[in-house]
């Protein structure tokens, strides 16, 4: 699963810590999601999408391997 969390965060000009605080996770989790090491649950993906004001599938897309 690939995502554009890093890009969206850059658009809003917020840090990983600010995003982490807003969605109630640790900075380590945000970093892991951005680098693709961790695939978030549906609830967390929805929270991230809501924070950026975009639909979930605009931020998270299936990879060729998925």
């Amino acid at each position: 699963m690939k995502n554009t969390v890093k890009v969206e965060r850059a658009i809003l000009d917020i840090t990983q810590q600010q995003l982490a605080d807003a969605i109630g996770v640790s900075r380590n989790t945000v970093n892991s999601i951005e680098s693709g090491r961790y695939v978030p649950s549906t609830v967390l993906a929805l929270k991230i999408a809501r924070h950026f004001g975009k639909p979930t599938d605009a931020i998270f897309q299936l990879d060729e391997n998925d």
Partner: protein, 148 residues
């Protein structure tokens, strides 16, 4: 939407670390000051107190939440539990195989019951310890990758 967590609050982990330090200190005091034969009873009481403190501290440390307990930490915990289960199942399997083989090829071999009893007593501690070491290792690796 929130799933109910069975873990204790994070402050219990801090209490657990203090208890572990206290258990270690009690053991050190016992070893240094109660070595002679006259104070054997006191040394025994201290050893029991130290082991109980160690068990309680292990319980608190292993079963407390992290400062920020999110779903990634939960997934790491789950993976650590899975690996621990694998390790103990493999150890049990190897032990069973060893028992069968030793009975087949060395019929005179008598297993030491004291070792069995000790292993049975240590099993919960080993399980908790292994789980926690694996979990901490995964967390450390995840943070290290973040730093890169």
């Amino acid at each position: 939407m929130k799933n109910k967590s069975l873990l204790m609050p994070h402050r219990c982990q801090i209490i657990g670390w203090w208890l572990l330090l206290f258990a270690f200190l009690v053991d050190v005091i016992k070893t240094i000051f109660f070595r002679d034969l006259a104070s054997m009873e006191t040394a025994g009481s201290l050893a029991r107190a130290s082991s109980i403190l160690f068990l309680v501290s292990l319980f608190f440390i292993c079963l407390s939440k992290e400062k920020v307990e999110d779903e990634m930490i939960s997934s790491l915990r789950l993976r650590a539990v899975g690996i621990t289960a694998y390790v103990f199942f493999l150890a049990f399997l190897l032990h069973s195989l060893f028992s069968v083989v030793s009975r087949l090829f060395f019929p005179a071999f008598e297993p030491n019951l004291y070792v069995y009893e000790l292993a049975l007593l240590c099993l919960p501690i080993l399980t908790a310890g292994l789980y926690y070491v694996i979990f901490r290792g995964m967390l450390w690796r995840s943070r290290k990758q973040e730093a890169l």
